[in-house]
């Protein structure tokens, strides 16, 4: 990933609201100027006072000018912050949209390997938390810096010696701040390490609490956690103790410009090197000289936090995408599948080596093999969760890389054990299989795969909203609804990846029946660990160590493959443990 500066990332995501930022900065500059010019009129007032001018009307113009300038300052401030807020919200929206869009385009396997909780957290809370930074930083940092520069230049014009002296406390402050970095590395490392230990201990203590309690270890584990928590706090306190002198000096001296200005002015005045009114106005200007600068520095932390978040977004946006055309180059002529010289690995480790395989249209094949052999990976490649690293997959004679994802998805259904139902009604969930289906058609399908009765038994029938509140649907019931949805889609190729595993027993036989309905007249690929399920398949493909070791019908394989035979025997024995045999 290329490294980018914060501002370029920001402007990139701001999109067409970029100019808002430009205008916002311009408005901020005007606002700052309108805040500095009043010094001129105050100086005038002070001069008149010193000259013992006792006509109040002579002061009125100055006062009005000051009021008007402050008004201008206020108005432009409103303009500047409003625009930057508009731009900020637009940016946040844009970032979110970019991230979610790229999730839809990225290879599904990679998206699935992300932690959905932290993904949600990044896309919602963490993006939102950048709002203050995005909305305030541009006008505030620019106006703070400008305000300092403007006031400083004005001071220099009034009296360059006063101007230079006004910097002395800042310089002292910066130097003491600089000494804080002595030993920084050591303390920082220590804190990071202790925090990591603390977090790890917390994770273990909390996630393992059942085990801890079951083995009567709560006392000792608790003590371990307590120790980690205390160390996690004391390392920071130690760090602070170490650099507190520098910190205190920096924070106390840096804003105290008057400490240098007042004595210098006194000495200059004593030697008749500065007029009294200039002296007074210099003192006045020195009061608020440094605090805007410290203000701006305070944002440095926010900026780096926002930067981290934007980097994370950048990472999500740049998750590898499947390379698919925008228009399909050809349409599959049937539902046959052919895999040519396919190799694949998740990271560096290759898990599939040079797979070649032809699956006839409307045939039923099964992938079997020891766990970790790669049978599920082949199915996921066919399901287009990832693209192969090498080789190609064809559907009906067309390379799937030449199909748009949309066209491809019309042909293939992938049913696994964890199908997601959306937080909408059951009717809508099933209709997602075919958006143009009428209510009657949805109900028709549901009757066909045996979910109608169970849905009608729910309090709100088809209008029951599935989601957090509807989570009283059991895993098996959800699975049944998702199979109905897959049926609604009616694609020519169906991949069943352990589709009946992890379901409750009373649902399993019903699910099996609906699956039988689903796969009628289709090309079907089955991955099941219960071998007896698939003995009637047209072709059983035995995958071992990332290659196809053998294939054929059940009886052929039993005769020619010792591995298949031993798996079958193991299965028969385990099945023997089942309640019925």
């Amino acid at each position: 990933m290329k490294k980018r500066g914060f501002l370029s990332i920001l402007l990139d995501y701001a999109g067409d609201k970029k100019k808002y930022y430009t205008v916002s900065i311009t408005a901020a500059i005007i606002s700052v100027a309108a805040g500095i010019i009043p010094f001129y009129f105050i100086a005038d007032i002070i001069t008149k006072l010193i000259d013992h001018n006792e006509v109040f009307n002579d002061y009125v113009f100055d006062i009005i000018m000051i009021l008007v300038l402050f008004l201008i300052k206020g108005l432009f401030h409103v303009l500047s912050t409003s625009l930057s807020h508009i731009a900020a919200f637009q940016t946040i929206k844009g970032v979110r949209k970019r991230a979610t869009d790229s999730l839809a385009l990225a290879s599904l396997g990679d998206v699935k390997s992300e932690n959905s909780g932290s993904l949600k957290n990044t896309l919602c809370e963490r993006i939102d938390s950048t709002e203050t930074t995005l909305a305030h930083i541009i006008p505030e940092v620019s106006s703070s810096v400008l305000c300092f520069l403007g006031t400083f230049v004005y001071l220099m014009i009034l009296d360059w010696r006063m101007g230079l002296f006004s910097l002395i406390p800042v310089v002292i402050g910066v130097i003491s701040y600089g000494t804080m970095t002595i030993g920084y590395e050591k303390y920082y490392k220590d804190c990071i390490e202790k925090t990591k230990v603390l977090n790890d201990t917390a994770v273990e203590y909390i996630n393992g609490i059942e085990v801890i309690k079951a083995f009567g270890k709560s006392e000792s584990s608790y003590e371990k956690f307590e120790k980690a928590a205390k160390e996690g706090a004391s390392c920071y306190v130690n760090w602070m103790r170490n650099c507190n002198i520098s910190f205190t000096a920096a924070m106390s001296v840096a804003p105290y410009t008057l400490l240098a200005i007042l004595p210098l002015g006194g000495i200059l005045f004593f030697n008749n090197l500065i007029p009294l009114n200039t002296f007074v106005i210099c003192v006045l200007m020195s009061i608020g000289l440094i605090s805007p600068l410290i203000n701006a520095m305070g944002h440095a932390d926010d900026i780096s936090k926002a930067q981290v978040i934007f980097k994370e977004i950048d990472r999500i946006v740049s998750i590898k995408r499947l390379s698919r055309p925008t228009v399909s180059k050809a349409q599959p002529k049937d539902s046959s599948i052919s895999i040519k010289d396919v190799s694949f690995g998740y990271k560096d480790e290759e898990v599939l080596h040079d797979i070649n395989l032809d699956i006839k249209a409307n045939s039923q094949v099964a992938f079997v093999g020891p766990s970790g052999a790669g049978k599920s990976t082949i199915a996921k490649l066919i399901a287009s969760l990832w693209d192969p690293n090498k080789g190609d997959i064809y559907i009906g004679g067309v390379n799937i890389k030449d199909l748009t994802l949309e066209d491809y998805n019309k042909y293939v259904s992938y049913v696994s054990q964890s199908n997601y139902l959306f937080n909408v009604s059951i009717m809508e969930n099933i209709r997602m299989g075919n958006l143009s289906a009428s209510d009657e058609e949805v109900i028709e399908i549901c009757k066909k795969c045996g979910v109608h009765d169970f849905i009608m038994n729910l309090e709100n029938g088809y209008d029951t909203v599935v989601g957090d509140s509807g989570s009283h649907l059991s895993g098996g019931e959800r699975q049944r609804i998702s199979i109905a949805r897959a049926m609604m889609k009616n694609s020519k190729i169906v991949i069943l990846d352990e589709a009946t595993a992890y379901t409750d027993p009373e649902n399993e036989s019903i699910i099996q029946k609906s699956l039988a309905e689903l796969v009628k007249d289709k090309t079907v690929i089955v991955i099941a660990h219960r071998l007896s399920t698939i003995i009637n398949s047209d072709d059983i493909i035995l995958v071992n160590n990332g290659v196809i070791e053998a294939h054929g019908k059940h009886k052929e394989l039993l005769a020619k493959s010792p591995l298949y035979k031993s798996m079958w025997n193991a299965h028969i024995q385990a099945k023997d443990g089942d309640i019925n045999d």
């Binding site: 006072l49 009021l67 402050f70 979610t100 909390i206 928590a229 889609k489 399993e508 299965h571």
Partner: protein, 576 residues
């Protein structure tokens, strides 16, 4: 502001509160020290205007600032340390409090969701809070304290100027209230927008496979986009209506300055104040709005404080149970339920159940999912306290046991196992601290964990987070080895062998056979042949025992059990 401080102080314990109070006192002293710049200015100008100016005067006025600065630095040093210690200390103590609390929370409360949440609060939220806790008190109080002190100093110069300044400060505060109530007014709308984005994003992220495979991309992302756009509009509207008010507020501080200047000019012209006082007051008007500007910039902080504190309190509000019963060594492992009822979230889960399980017998609980069979097993080991009736182990109510001596009797074998991020041998020693090498090897052998010896580091292999290097089947057998070492009298198998691939199933069964030898065995299972051989099978439906007896007897009755067995027959012999 006061509300936030209250909330934060409520979060801290007594010692920490004292530290923060002391820090506030120090902040007041610092404010006073800082305000000496006005007398210093006044002193210098007074001598100039009265013609008594000399370099000694310059030195004096310098000292009037320098000496308080020294004092102020000492105070700042102490106050920073107090706040740092107080901030990190109070979050550390809260973490420990949570950990302590968890020891008394009923086991039944824990599930993946609740554990994930507690972990995130204990790590992330507390980390976030500890950073803020070190500066929140300072940030919130400094501006106000300094402003008040400057106003008081101005009163010393001229009470009329002091009154103007005071009036201005009050108006400023009034605006704070207005802004706050505006924020409150918008809060529900904002919340709705937040929720819309959150739930739609979650739906989208979790359902991304479906979004893609059903070509819902346009349709679904439209819903998300709408929520996103709605959020943007709401936020924008809220901010755009707040900004002018906030600006007027800052504008008021400038107006106070101007008003003070006008009054100062008038008083000077009338000859009521001398020039030195007039100059000092005009300069003072700038000082006052420098400190007013420092107020009211902690809205974002207060949100975080509120969120973190509420989350921690939520966890501490989880009801606990008294676990300090008697240390008791059981002689038998007879279990008895006497008219036990248990409900959770107002829903009855176990409804007046009575049963007896004899030592060394094998029983099974069978029933539809959600029938309560797992809860019954949980009640035996007091994962929850029952509301009615009693659960007895060895004739003694489980509530009268000290929790450790109760747990000694039970071993649970679940589908999901948790092993610590530690070596295999240390994980096993969890069950028996002083287990000899021989015992460890024996347990590994009985649990079919030969694979351990093929690992490069053998029993010293560290089990990675989530067990990345070992398969699920292997982890499960390791947990059985651990259970074998524990050698408790009662073994509870909760669907332990469901969904295991065939090559693992065989070994797992063997491991379980070793574990359950000569034990009281309670199983929740639907696939094991052993269910048929159980001494007693309890069929549970809707929290009640609806059938019980041996397999053959139950097969003769027309009930759930028979239907269940026939269904299973269908399922197992199913061919695609």
């Amino acid at each position: 502001m006061i509300k936030m401080l209250k909330m934060f102080f409520g979060f801290c314990n007594k010692k920490r509160k004292r530290q923060f109070y002391l820090a506030i006192v120090l902040t007041i002293i610092m404010g006073i020290c800082e305000a000496t710049k006005l007398p210093a200015i006044w002193y210098l100008f007074k001598n100039i205007f009265e013609g008594t100016f000399s370099l000694t005067v310059v030195l004096h006025s310098f000292l009037i600032m320098l000496i308080p600065l020294m004092i102020s630095m000492v105070c700042r040093y102490a106050s920073t340390m107090l706040q740092c210690d107080g901030g990190y200390g109070s979050t550390c103590e809260k973490r420990i409090e949570i950990a302590e609390h968890l020891r008394y929370v009923p086991m039944g409360y824990f599930n993946n969701n609740s554990l994930g949440y507690i972990t995130s609060v204990t790590t992330n939220s507390m980390e976030q809070l500890s950073d803020i806790a070190t500066r929140v008190v300072m940030l919130v109080t400094t501006g106000l304290i300094n402003t008040i002190i400057v106003v008081i100093v101005l009163f010393f110069f001229d009470y009329r100027i002091g009154l103007v300044a005071l009036g201005g400060v009050l108006i400023f505060m009034a605006f704070n209230t207005i802004i706050k109530s505006m924020g409150k007014k918008f809060a529900p709308k904002k919340e709705k927008a937040d929720l819309g984005i959150l739930s739609n994003t979650l739906d989208y992220v979790l359902g991304i496979s479906e979004v893609k495979s059903y070509n819902l991309y346009g349709k679904y992302s439209k819903r998300l986009d709408d929520a996103n756009e709605y959020g943007r509009k709401v936020y924008q509207k809220v901010e755009l209506s707040m900004i002018p008010v906030q600006t007027i507020q800052t504008y008021i501080t400038r107006l106070i300055g101007v008003a003070m200047t006008i009054v100062a000019i008038l008083l000077c012209i009338k000859g009521e104040n001398d020039l030195a006082t007039t100059m000092t007051v005009i300069i003072g008007s700038y000082v006052i709005y420098a400190s007013l500007d420092a107020m009211g910039t902690f809205n974002a902080l207060s949100k975080i404080v509120e969120r973190c504190v509420t989350r921690a309190n939520e966890i501490l509000a989880i009801p606990t149970m008294n676990i300090s019963g008697e240390q008791y060594k059981t002689k038998s492992s007879d279990i008895e339920f006497k008219n036990v009822s248990f409900s959770y979230d107002k829903k009855t889960i176990i409804d007046n159940v009575s049963l007896k399980i004899k030592s060394n017998s094998k029983v099974a609980f069978v029933g539809p999912s959600g029938s309560g069979k797992t809860t019954i097993c949980h009640l035996m080991a007091r994962f929850w306290d029952v509301q009615k009736g009693s659960v007895l182990l060895d004739g003694k109510d489980v509530k009268d046991y000290n929790i450790d001596s109760l747990m000694e009797n039970f071993t649970f074998v679940f589908q999901n196992v948790y092993l610590f991020n530690d070596s295999i041998v240390n994980n096993l020693r969890m069950a028996k601290e002083n287990a000899s090498e021989e015992e460890i090897n024996n347990a590994l052998k009985l649990a079919c964990c030969d694979f351990v010896y093929d690992l490069p580091k053998g029993v010293n292999t560290i089990i990675g987070e989530g067990g990345s290097t070992l398969s699920g089947g292997e982890l499960q057998r390791l947990s059985i080895a651990r259970a074998i070492l524990k050698d408790s009298k009662i073994v509870i198998l909760d669907e332990a062998t469901a969904n295991v691939d065939p090559e693992n199933e065989e070994k797992l069964m063997e491991a379980i056979d070793h574990l359950t030898k000569n034990k009281t065995v309670i199983m929740i299972a639907h696939r094991l042949k052993t269910v048929r051989d159980c001494d007693n099978i309890f069929v549970i439906d809707e929290g009640k025992i609806v059938q019980s007896g041996k397999h053959d007897k139950l097969m003769e009755e027309d009930g759930i059990y028979k239907r269940f067995v026939l269904d299973r027959k269908d399922a197992v012999s199913w061919k695609i």
